[in-house]
């Protein structure tokens, strides 16, 4: 049984700043990282490999430089790494992205080994949509188990999985047959660090590149053309400056007093 992990290379959005003068994104020096949620998906795949000896394939759709991300997956112990890269894949929204990923998974399924589990992070930190995992599940008719925070049991022979899902203020235990697509949350596990020999091995490990000559998808269903949604405008919200009270450095008590007077005048304080 093959386990497929979908990973994405994302800009480290926690380090992005807005230029206060031009009101545009300052992108210089922003590092690319593996989407943090995806590292937990990869970790879970590797744990299943350790436990059951199944093979793990990591796939990613992105530009050629996303190869670095897949190399990390190889360093951690993934058996295969495939970069889905082609200019016709570019500009894709979640619908077009799930089409390419699903096509790659079904190719692995038919040519390499039956895919039992597809693992994805619950969302990416750049798009934050959480839509690609469900998109893959629907396209491939996989059981859809989102927001998994624990895998309670897996019976590979019977093709059955039991998981805990983390929802708002509650948890759900769900049992489903395989194959299944799981999206995972951070609580699921703690990702490992690569061991040095593995890193060395991965330096020579090969990231395969599949373009659309391999996947042969209709160009109207991928990339920009296959994306129903498109961004018409990007902007930084304009805001009115707030009122600064007193001098908090020289006279913290005075500033606090001014604040409390303002709150009392507006009847906002519960005293």
């Amino acid at each position: 049984m093959l386990i497929v992990v979908c990973i994405k290379q994302v800009p480290d959005t926690t380090q992005v700043q807005i230029d206060p003068v031009t009101n545009t994104l300052v992108r210089e020096g922003i590092p690319f990282i593996v989407n943090p949620y995806d590292t937990h998906a990869l970790e879970e795949a590797l744990r299943l490999k350790d436990r059951f000896g199944c093979r793990v394939a990591a796939i990613s759709m992105g530009p050629p430089n996303a190869e670095a991300t897949l190399r990390k997956a190889l360093a951690l112990g993934a058996d295969r790494a495939i970069l889905l890269s082609d200019r016709v894949f570019g500009g894709a929204d979640t619908l077009a992205t799930s089409n390419v990923l699903a096509a790659a998974i079904s190719r692995l399924d038919s040519e390499l080994e039956k895919v039992g589990i597809v693992l994805c992070g619950k969302q990416t930190i750049d798009g934050d949509t959480a839509q690609v995992g469900p998109g893959i599940a629907s396209r491939l008719s996989l059981q859809q188990l989102t927001l998994v925070d624990r895998i309670l049991s897996i019976e590979l022979n019977d093709g059955k999985i039991r998981v805990s899902r983390k929802l708002e203020g509650r948890h759900e235990i769900v049992e489903s047959p395989l194959p299944a697509m799981l999206t995972v949350v951070r609580e699921l596990n703690r990702p490992r660090y690569p061991k040095v020999p593995m890193r060395l091995a991965a330096a020579g490990g090969e990231v395969e590149i599949w373009n659309n000559q391999v996947l042969k998808l209709d160009e109207n269903t991928i990339g920009l053309k296959g994306s129903p949604t498109w961004v018409t405008k990007i902007f930084s919200p304009e805001r009115a400056k707030g009122e600064i009270l007193g001098d908090g450095y020289a006279d913290p008590d005075g500033a606090a007093k001014m604040l409390i007077e303002k709150l009392l005048a507006k009847d906002m304080l519960p005293v």
Partner: protein, 442 residues
């Protein structure tokens, strides 16, 4: 007789990138280019080969950041000037493909809200969506409908009418007892194909996101997550505004060639609409025969999280005092807790504070945390990245305490104090305590 003068061709120019304007959106320009003259560099910016550019403008039109423009040489500009002085612009020819799209879109009418429920109780976000749904329906001149799916959930239709729906599509059967992706997605798809709504809104909750992603894929339409603003443009299309790029910037997203247009909205982003007791509407019940045996996933157990000491629900709090990177260490959050105790509030945190392990994840406010709208939000040592601001900007009042006068948090704050929070916050706490003591004495 035809004009015998040699016809001067209008110069098309070549595309070029404006310095610093590219946001590395993901190679939209490269994908749009029919001449393959755009290569992306390592930072995700386009490098355009002017020798290969055919001047089609496709990349310019598709760029969401308006980072590309057409460049003309001075000689070309002169020709353009001369041409525009002599010729009149040609009338737009109707494009048969565009007309077919327009005809298809016309078949879709109405705004729907998916009413999320667990064990017969509706999620509050569904009613919040009724408010914005009513406004959209009114500007389109169409009906607002609720989509109610579950087991023994007919009573939710009356609630939906009270919150502004005029119709309910009801699917009620034991197979829908617990939410499971498969039967719910099937039910939604049947309703969509039969009744063709133009807009569907769902809560951006665990359930809503699970369902919306499946439904949008099956009906092959666009889905925009976590919208914070929804409006209708002059062509009846939905303008969906949401934080993008990890919440560092806002984007307006359209789905103007596909229907339905689907959006999710997070809880507490939209205000609750008024409740009109006894409001009437029409129930359209769909009887769907989905056999239980055909649904392979089983929900074995639902457990409600126990409220341990750390499990505080910040979304319902009237007063929230949040700390960020400026708190320096986890133990320093005690000064925020003291202020919170004094005014009956709770302590929240920014993403940096949670990522640093100073506060539990359920206290996180912002794009990847929770959206809150308390009466007063006090941000202490939080610089105010947009990803944080989108989670709290709808609070009735925002107070910012920060060392840096230029921190963006001061732009959303009603009141700001520039100073050392370790001196300012205890001063506020002490003065409120004194005020309370003085009032109790009287």
């Amino acid at each position: 007789m035809a004009d015998t003068k040699p016809r001067i061709k209008r110069p098309l120019g070549v595309a070029r990138l404006l310095d610093g304007a590219c946001i590395a959106c993901g190679a939209r320009c490269q994908s749009a280019c029919p001449a393959n003259c755009i290569e992306m560099n390592d930072t995700g910016e386009p490098v355009i080969d002017p020798a290969k550019c055919i001047g089609c403008r496709k990349c310019v039109k598709v760029c969401p950041a308006s980072a590309l423009e057409m460049y003309f040489t001075p000689e070309q500009l002169k020709i353009i000037e001369e041409l525009s002085a002599t010729s009149t612009p040609a009338a737009d020819n109707a494009d048969p493909e565009e007309e077919a799209v327009a005809r298809k879109l016309l078949q879709y009418r109405g705004v729907w809200v998916f009413v999320e429920q667990t064990e017969g109780e509706a999620a509050k976000v569904s009613w919040e969506l009724m408010g914005v749904g009513s406004r959209l329906a009114a500007s389109l001149g169409v009906e607002l409908s609720a989509m109610v799916i579950g087991e023994n959930v007919r009573h939710l239709c009356a609630e939906a009418f009270a919150y502004g729906a005029s119709r309910c599509y009801l699917v009620d059967s034991p197979v829908f007892r617990h939410y499971r992706t498969e039967p719910y997605a099937q039910a939604c798809c049947v309703l969509i194909e039969k009744h063709k709504p133009e807009i569907i809104l769902m809560g951006a909750t665990g359930m809503g996101r699970d369902l919306a992603g499946a439904v949008a894929t099956r009906v092959s339409t666009g889905l925009t997550a976590d919208c914070t603003g929804l409006d209708i443009d002059e062509k009846r299309n939905l303008m969906q505004t949401r934080p993008a790029f990890g919440g560092n910037i806002m984007a307006t997203i359209m789905c103007d060639r596909f229907r339905p247009q689907m959006s999710t909205v997070r809880p507490n982003v939209m205000p609750m609409p008024p409740y009109q007791e006894g409001a009437q509407g029409e129930i359209t019940e769909e009887l769907l025969a989905i056999p239980e045996e055909s649904i392979l996933a089983k929900v074995l157990e639902i457990s409600h999280d126990s409220h341990s000491r750390s499990a505080v629900d910040i979304t319902g709090a009237e007063f929230i005092i949040s700390g960020g990177r400026g708190m320096m260490a986890p133990e320093n959050f005690s000064i925020l807790q003291e202020l919170a105790d004094e005014i009956g509030g709770v302590v929240g945190a920014s993403r940096s504070a949670v990522d640093a392990g100073w506060m539990p994840g359920d206290r996180q406010v912002g794009q990847t945390g929770k959206t809150v709208r308390p009466k007063i939000y006090i941000a202490c040592g939080i610089s105010g990245a947009i990803q944080h601001l989108v989670g709290m900007q709808d609070s009735d009042m925002i107070i910012a305490i920060n060392r840096d006068r230029n921190a963006p948090i001061f732009e959303v704050a009603t009141y700001g104090i520039v100073g050392d929070l370790f001196r300012v916050v205890p001063a506020i706490t002490r003065q409120i305590r004194e005020l309370k003591t003085a009032r109790n004495r009287h």
